[in-house]
């Protein structure tokens, strides 16, 4: 019995731990989270960004009502964002929102179809935040969270 534990279970456990610990580092994240220049915030912590995107708390540190934006096209940006921030795949994010949406507790972030649309929404709404590829940054918005510090 003891040999079985040693031979099968321990390496299995080690593998699970390896996947759990290693999983986070597997993604090469290179997005930034942006906000409106008048949002009244300079920096946000990862926890703050996660709380707003997961609908747990929808207020910016400056007190303004937060309006998170999801970038749907290209979908790889969205996949990368959730993988890096909460280590979740998109079906899991959708599953999470299904429970909240159909029990009247809130709705997922507003969905945008292009980087240009994202920049427009953020530059026109004080409370809007969004994630975009660092290379797409422009002067209308400011960076409040960097995935590669």
């Amino acid at each position: 019995m003891k040999t079985l534990v040693h031979r099968a279970l321990l390496p299995g456990l080690a593998l699970v731990l390896f996947i759990m610990v290693g999983g986070n580092q597997a993604f090469c994240a290179d997005f930034v989270v942006i906000a409106n220049p008048d949002s009244g915030i300079e920096k946000m912590s990862k926890d703050d960004v996660v709380n707003i995107y997961m609908g747990r708390y929808r207020k910016l540190p400056s007190g303004i009502k937060a309006m998170p934006i999801d970038l749907n096209t290209p979908i790889s940006e969205k996949t990368k964002f959730y993988a890096s921030m909460v280590n979740k795949e998109l079906p899991e994010i959708n599953s999470y929102w299904a429970r909240l949406t159909f029990s009247g507790q809130g709705s997922p972030p507003r969905q945008a179809d292009s980087v240009e649309q994202v920049l427009e929404i953020v530059s026109n709404n004080k409370g809007a935040i969004a994630y975009i590829d660092r290379k797409k940054l422009d002067k209308r918005v400011k960076v409040i969270f960097d995935s590669t510090p």
Binding site: V50, R56, P91, A98, R99, S103, G104
Partner: protein, 418 residues
């Protein structure tokens, strides 16, 4: 009174949705239509009993049909609109197997007011939030199992209330603390085991609340709810009146005491619960415990619990779950103190009281193994095997005298949201 309010709320919601629709050309996204559904098949290896999803279902899989498509299959539609910046309305209609087939039922219809991020008020028809996940158990896409653990959720006879609720939340330390309170009237009806006979919960008072603390990976929750029955269980009144009659109490005063224990009317069931959920990256696990207190002779209290853990590996999430329910002692053995054999009418009362003091209690456990597979971003496939071991089956239908208390189920379902 409340009924009228809810009906008005419903009408108001519909009207607002129509108005919004009319304005669709002007603004962007005036209202959203979303939905969820499950197409499921279950096979049971025994024809001796019907395993049901919950007590609201009149038939299940096994005795009625060993291959069944109705236990888990359902369709839900939701219309939501934003009326003002902080005022929303939603209506949800669900068609699932209940007491009377697949008649669509309005499961949610409410106005939600969020004056600020710390307070939320809702009024109308609301899901019964007695346990974590209890108000979203129709949305199979939102959880791992094919169906919520029967031993834990199956006993619930209320899925929504007509009333109001309030949520207060604040960031505390690294997480967010929430307090929720609700009150309203139940409305549904539950099958009694006799064909075409139902126990109506209409007008029964429901109150409850919980405290919740959520960090990035952990969720803790302690809750309390109560339902107080407005109506008497069908068929009980004659027995109660008989046991209370002066002539009977002249023989044994104990009879009136037993009469007081039998009925549902004006009596309460209390639900106490505690739960911990962990969700971090690919790993999720939940442990939920509950105690249901009842002084109703034919429906004694019980303890229930479940543990579930699942681990995602790419598109697959294998999981296992163990759930169990065990009864608490009845507060009376149904002894009326009446002597047997002096009068056939008295004999009927004695037998009746004895029968109710020996109704089936809830003692059952279920071991489930399964896997969820992501077919797309909003659709999944689940396969689950359940081994049901019942010493005393309560959340079942049509149990045959020869049934050994065991059932193995194989379930396959496709679940989606849109």
């Amino acid at each position: 009174m409340l009924d009228v309010i809810v009906r008005r709320c419903l009408l108001l919601c519909c009207w607002l949705l129509c108005v919004q629709q009319a304005q669709a050309a002007d603004g962007d996204k005036p209202f959203t239509i979303s939905g969820f559904g499950t197409v499921g098949a279950v096979y049971s290896d025994t024809g001796q009993v019907d395993i049901v999803r919950d007590l609201l279902q009149a038939r299940g899989v096994g005795y009625s049909s060993q291959l069944d498509f109705g236990v888990d299959s359902l369709l839900g539609l939701q219309l939501s609109t934003s009326i003002l910046d902080n005022l929303d309305a939603s209506v949800q209609v669900v068609s699932r197997r209940s007491q009377t087939g697949f008649d669509p039922d309005v499961t949610w219809a409410f106005l939600k007011y969020n004056p600020n991020d710390n307070l939320q008020l809702r009024a109308g028809r609301l899901g019964f939030d007695v346990y974590l996940l209890a108000d979203s158990r129709n949305v199979a896409y939102s959880y791992l199992w094919v169906r919520p653990p029967i031993d834990y959720f199956g006993n619930l006879i209320v899925s929504y209330i007509d009333g109001a609720d309030m949520v207060i939340k604040y960031p505390v330390g690294p997480g967010i603390a929430r307090f929720k309170a609700f009150a309203g009237k139940a409305r549904e009806k539950t099958y009694t085991g006799v064909p075409d006979q139902y126990f109506s919960l209409k007008g029964s008072d429901v109150v409850g609340g919980h405290v919740e603390y959520q960090t990035e990976s952990w969720m803790y929750r302690v809750g309390y709810s109560q339902i107080r029955f407005k109506n008497e269980f069908p068929g009980f009144q004659g027995l109660i009146d008989g046991l209370r009659s002066p002539a009977i109490n002249a023989i044994s005063p104990l009879a009136a005491t037993v009469a007081g224990n039998i009925g549902f009317q004006d009596k309460a069931i209390n639900y106490l619960s505690a739960g911990i959920a962990y969700d971090e990256g690919p790993l999720q696990a939940q442990l939920m415990l509950s105690q249901t207190k009842s002084a109703i002779l034919p429906y004694p209290g019980f303890k229930a619990g479940y543990f579930t853990a699942g681990y995602r590996i790419k598109k697959w999430t294998p999981y296992f779950s163990y759930s169990a329910a065990t009864p608490e002692h009845r507060q009376s053995n149904g002894n009326t103190g009446l002597p047997f054999g002096i009068n056939p009418n008295i004999d009927i009362l004695i037998l009746g009281a004895n029968a109710l003091a020996n109704t089936v209690v809830n003692k059952q456990s279920t071991l489930s193994l399964g896997a969820r597979y992501d077919l797309g971003d909003k659709i999944d496939l689940k396969i689950q095997v359940d081994h049901v071991d019942s010493t005393s089956p309560q959340v079942t239908r049509n149990a045959q005298p020869g049934w050994d208390g065991k059932a193995n189920l194989l379930s396959v379902s496709v679940n989606f949201v849109f």
